[in-house]
Symmetry: C2
Subunit: 346 residues, 2 copies
């Protein structure tokens, strides 16, 4: 299968996306891969497999690569004489954060008619924005943690008790996130978060809460990963974050009872189906007193959460063969013809 990996983007997670893409090189062993890099100015470049290392991007060397244009039905490589289409069976959207997760890449792929693995436009908007995720989860009867929403111009009055966790609504990878333990630290944490976004959500910070991650998709049938209990640290430094986005070997199933496991799977399925068809997502859940709460949806998880699956590559192929199809709309100008003939009669 010819897979085009889209990575980079005009995003705070641009660099992390490069790490994810390099990881995919190790994970996807049987596929033909084209690496399509979206730089910070939103120009596309075709990167040769042998050049796929982080230095190519940090040094700016990538600019010597061939540029790509989007056309109806294809990515087209600019050449001295004319242009050439890239063979693509499916595009894997691996752009974390803005562009990749906010609906832009999904829109471009739908607009230009390219088959793609990624949340679609609605799914992107509802998962990229943590406030809308809350509204959506409630509408499909999945509980989420109680919260307070704060906009830039709102009065900075907290209605929750300390400690709290403050998150910009539109960012991933813990960017701009703070845990605030007392009123003294509130102003600073809000200032930091508002550097990144106009809107925040504030949630109670529950020290030592049980967290479980489940990833998956629905191809011709449900494909759910093992459930992982992630290692918890209050703050991840860059080395640990790097580890997180470059994981490529399978982890172990968390030691939880089948009843809880079923509840987590059920919550995942309620969130996923049908909104997220066509994508592989990871949901992070909290378990409090045996009850399951959605913490976050990762619409494009780091390295696609490949490490949670037994055979990630085979699943990717099955999903690629079972993507949602856009409804064809017939346009026959019947309406305009009617107006014209009505006018003709008048």
């Amino acid at each position: 299968m010819n897979i085009a990996i889209l990575f980079g983007g005009s995003s705070f997670e641009h660099e992390i996306s490069i790490v994810s893409a390099i990881t995919m090189k190790k994970v996807l062993k049987k596929s033909q891969i084209s690496y399509l890099f979206l730089d910070k100015d939103r120009n596309f470049y075709l990167i040769e497999e042998k050049s796929m290392n982080s230095k190519l991007f940090s040094s700016g060397e990538y600019k010597k690569s061939k540029t790509i244009q989007l056309k109806q039905g294809s990515f087209s490589v600019d050449a001295l004489f004319g242009s050439k289409d890239i063979s693509v069976d499916v595009v894997l959207n691996l752009i974390h954060g803005r562009d990749g997760e906010d609906g832009k890449i999904a829109s471009l792929m739908e607009f230009y008619g390219l088959p793609f693995i990624s949340p679609r436009i609605e799914a992107s908007v509802l998962s990229y924005n943590k406030l809308y995720t809350k509204l959506y989860a409630e509408s499909v009867a999945v509980k989420s943690v109680p919260y307070q929403h704060l906009s830039k111009n709102d009065n900075r009055e907290l209605t929750l008790e300390y400690p709290v966790i403050i998150k910009p609504v539109r960012l991933g990878s813990s960017i701009g996130v703070s845990i605030v333990k007392s009123a003294d630290d509130l102003e600073y944490a809000l200032d930091v978060a508002f550097e990144f976004d106009t809107d925040l959500i504030i949630e109670p910070f529950i020290d030592g809460v049980k967290e479980y991650n489940l990833a998956g998709c629905k191809s011709n049938s449900w494909e759910l990963s093992i459930i992982e209990e992630p290692q918890k640290e209050e703050f991840l430094d860059f080395a640990k974050k790097y580890m997180d986005f470059s994981r490529d070997s399978q982890v172990h199933q968390a030691d939880i009872d089948p009843n809880l496991q079923a509840k987590i799977s059920e919550s995942f399925q309620k969130i996923y189906d049908p909104l997220f068809l066509g994508s592989i997502i990871r949901c992070d859940f909290f378990v409090i007193d045996g009850e399951v709460f959605l913490n976050e949806i990762n619409p494009i998880p780091g390295s696609m959460a490949n490490y949670l699956f037994d055979d990630f590559e085979a699943m990717l192929e099955r999903l690629a063969l079972n993507l949602p199809k856009e409804k064809k709309i017939q346009i026959d100008y019947q309406y305009i013809h009617s107006i014209q003939s009505a006018k003709g009669k008048a």
Copy 2:
């Protein structure tokens, strides 16, 4: 001001969009206008002003026009030798329904860095889908009519009393909408609606309910239209629909008391700010026992609801000068540099 009007699209409302664009030709008298037509196969064409009539499109003659490509920062007209950029101060998105209202055009404009008048991506998704509109309205404390949500595979059991109105969640211009007065007519109406969408909302149909429309935007300050009490008909035939999308002369303010007027304006502002910044929308409200309910958001109203404004063209220019700006994200590869130097030390 150089205004590029985008119209057409792969949408059930393709033809209505053509009518809206032709109407704009009459409304925008002082501006330089470029007409950019998106055909059903999603190819862009530059239409000459003198050719802007419905027959050009229904006959397929438009295909002889110059084609356009989207590039970073411009629409580029294909020419025999090289290509030429179109001068654009602002793009007016006039594509009704799919492509224009679902977030695709907003995504394309943001991606390619073109200033544009239209709901942004989040605003598009939350207004294009009537179910999400309900969730959003609730979150900003605007009441909407009670409803039942029905998916294609759900049990077709009604929890509301007759008569009800059935609407596909993702369509405008009354497409697929039925009023159902008794159980006998339910199955057929559901079949019709499911022809257009996978999801429906069902609401109580309130015969003779008072309806009021208000359009507006926020440029450097609030710009609210007069409030219109639209003519009501159970069904609009094509001639009436055509009238509706080709209106170009101002209508009269509805005769309502200042208190109700203030409530309607306040609801509009809660819906609009900040989600819809950069767009001109029309909100349709119901008034029941003196209480205001949001019926629908028209993210790209027919002929931009120009007929509700005193000087539509001047407002459009003010809005064009006050569009939301995309936040610049600095990408300096600090993170990758750190990993590289950490690896170097190891």
